[in-house]
């Protein structure tokens, strides 16, 4: 079984994000990057499926990203993925979901696939579009926000659960399929040291757009980010203290009237 897991390099959730002066992106300096959290669930689920299927099943990591994304790819390889395709081209630096999906679709088709796992959304721009566009481009079903996954005995069907408002939805799908993973689907493993050592020797096929036969990605842009804006600073919170409730209430009313001018 050819298992594909998508992986995006994204700023660590704890990173202090500052928007650059031009408003075209973030200041990368001093920002730590990691595997986009939901993609870790995708890698883990891919590995579990491979372990279950056995035989010549293989997990291939596919990533569109800058050179630095190699570090995250190696982490996925250390977890146990077999090889990787890294599409790295300055032309797709300012990517948007449609381009990313188009590039991924081409790379995945070239590689061959039976099932694709990805994150339910990237933790940086939170768009949650790539999987859907990709599904359309590959003309396969998609199941989003999966919280459980089970492959059938024959390996051509899967049963999944998706968390929805107030309950779970149970879905059955044919393979090939693209599945976007939600927290709770699994506990991603911590790479073992032999895994880390082996990962150093695993193959990462780095490709430029030309290698995929896609000369001009820019032509496909469907949307453009106009400007990135910092979140306006929230007002300060004031706590009215004191044991004596009536006095505290009086003070609160005064503050609301005089300072907040809300009354």
């Amino acid at each position: 079984m050819k298992i594909i897991t998508l992986l995006k390099r994204a700023p660590d959730t704890e990173a202090r994000i500052l928007i650059n002066r031009e408003g075209t992106g973030i200041q990368e300096e001093g920002v730590k990057f990691v595997i986009s959290t939901y993609d870790e669930y995708a890698v883990e689920e891919g590995l579990r499926l491979k372990e279950k299927m056995g035989g010549d099943s293989k997990v291939t990591v596919v990533c569109v990203g800058p050179e630095e994304a190699t570090e995250m790819i190696r982490t996925a390889l250390a977890m146990g993925a077999d090889d990787a395709v890294h599409i790295c081209d300055p032309a797709i630096k300012e990517s948007e979901p449609f381009i990313t999906a188009a590039v991924l679709a081409k790379a995945i088709k070239d590689n061959g696939f039976d099932i694709i796992f990805c994150g339910k959304q990237a933790i940086d721009d939170d768009m949650a579009q790539v999987q859907s566009i990709l599904a359309e481009m590959l003309d396969i079903p998609q199941v989003n926000v999966a919280t459980s996954f089970e492959i059938s005995e024959s390996g051509d069907k899967a049963v999944l659960r998706r968390r929805i408002e107030g309950g779970d939805e149970k879905v059955e799908t044919q393979l090939p399929v693209i599945i976007s993973c939600e927290k709770g689907l699994n506990e991603p493993r911590y790479a073992s040291l032999p895994g880390i050592m082996k990962a150093k020797k695993k193959e990462i096929r780095t490709k430029a757009l030309a290698d995929l036969g896609m000369a001009d990605a820019q032509g496909e842009i469907r949307s453009k980010i106009l400007k990135w804006l910092p979140i306006p600073k929230g007002g300060e919170c004031k706590v009215v203290e004191g044991e004596d409730v009536p006095t505290a209430v009086k003070e609160l009313v005064r503050l609301l009237r005089e300072e907040a001018k809300a009354l």
């Binding site: 660590d12 704890e14 990173a15 202090r16 001093g30 920002v31 730590k32 990691v34 506990e187 493993r189 911590y190 790479a191 073992s192 040291l193 032999p194 895994g195 880390i196 050592m197 150093k200 020797k201």
Partner: protein, 667 residues
Amino acid sequence: MAIQGIILLVIFVAVLAAFGYIVRLLYRLLRKGVDEDRFGQWAQRVNSVVVFVGAQARVLAQPAGIGHFLIFWGFIFITLGTIEHILGMIFPGFGFEQIFGTKATGALSWLQDVFGILVIGSIIVALFRRFILKPERLKIDDPKARREATLILGLIFVLILLMYGFRGTAILMDPGEVSRAAAPLSHYAARLMSGWGMNLPIANGIFAWIHHLIIFFFLIYIPFSKHIHILGAIPNVFFRNLGPMGTLSRMDFEDESAEKFGISEIQEFTWKQLLDLYACTECGRCQVACPAYLTEKPLSPFRVIHNLRGHLMDERKRLLSAGGDGDASPQIIPETVTEDELWACTTCGACMQECPPFIEHVQKIVDLRRFLVLTESRFPSEMQPVFKNMEVNYNPWALGYASRADWVGDMPVPLAAEKKSFDVLYWVGCAGSFDARGQDVSRAVVGLLQRAGVDFAILGTEEMCCGETARRMGNEYLAQTLIESNIETFKKYEFKMLVTACPHGLNSFRVEYPQFGYEIPVLHHSEFLLDLIRSGKLRADGIEKARGAYHDSCYLGRYNGIASQPRDILRHIPRLGLAEFPRREKRSFCCGAGGGRMWMEETLGTRINEARVEEFLGLGADHIFVACPFCMTMFEDGLKAKEREDIKVLDIAEILLAACKTNTDSP
């Protein structure tokens, strides 16, 4: 030579041969272990044996040790006498007197006689303890261990009676055999027996024969029982770790094709670690010092050692057979040592501090943890985010590394990157950077350094976790990554010393970074601040009346022997009364946070920090003084759980700054 002598000679030689064979077997088994350099510093090694074997210094640290002291020395004198007696039976007329003279032989005889009765007394006390008092420290859930201990005590008891039996009957047969002065008790025994109407030569022969046969039985039986320590303890004391306590071995990651890291099979331990197993006396002192054991966790250092020895002995045939290495080797985890045991350890070192034959428990526990973490990636789930946080943000909290120096606020704290060259590099540490109370302490330390006009700087966001926690959690790979990065950073700047308020960082820099080629003087803030007080750069004018007890952190008091300095600082503060924990200094009791336990759930048994808080509450003091950010957290949590938040936990830097602030003219 009489027929009896010939038979005894044959048995004696056969037993000695068998004993020699067994000792050789034990030696060969040791050699199956990995190499470890414990050679050199010979004078100190001999001295260790004199102090800790001869004078039984550690054994005597507890009253029950007096019994061991008496049995130990009694055993030596009586064995010498037994050898003389056996040789006398084989070669009639032989006696030490001909070789060593009357005086020395008389003295030996007297010692034998007197120690005989002392040994009997000790054994009665020992059996009384074992069966009536049943102290916690002798508790072990292996019935075989109990049977063995009882059998051996019982046999020694019988041996002594038999010794008086054959010595007494010999006196009855020939009153000139030995003088009353040289054998007062044997003479007394002779008087007792004189009325029994025994056939003296036959009785004498029977007593002597049974006595010697028991001795022979011992020689064969002992190496396979807990009394193997008679063979193992002395070399173990001789080869003990003479360096800083509990320094972990440095792992080598050069071999990229390695499939395995850490230890999972018994022969992967070093020969010295295997010798440790021979040396255990099963005294249980480690057990009753162990914070995990005392709070009903599945770990007892005593049982770990006991079970590892049992496992080694079970595996000896396989290990020693010619091609034995090829067989599937049984795994230590979980049959011999369980994961719950391994993760319960705080690496506090109390076990190693107590252990009379200087067994090193912590390295073994960490070796096994290393296997679980590095090779198997198997550990309590709460540890994974901790590792990840350390990898990504260089601290165990899930907080961005860029905010590492936010605690500074608007205090003017110079950065190393700006200053380049300075006297003191103040190592803030992860807790000092990210934990709210830790930050208070950092600000207090900076306040004091500024007051005293110290030329210092901090690394700010260049500082990374020192790696100590990762190392003790078994993640040596991550630890080494952090250590190497920090060393790179240190090398960029010029400074005379490192000062830190974190004992874990202190221990790391002082004794572990040198393994990676980086050495610099490292002072704990208590040492540095005390120097500032003594040189008049800081003056504590006092505080409102308070009474507090200082808690010794494991990595400060025990590992690094820093116990007087923090106390001296507190003594410099007028109107501050000091109480003392019953367990303190080198023998202090862990707060529960070491060895990565700070980051794990404490779901088994009761809570270590609460046990320590209870110890404090008995002192009737109103302040707990600490010198470690993790102890701070553990105490504050413990006090909350006990609903005693009226008690304040302060770092020594905080109380010192408060005391200095009362004088406005600096210092």
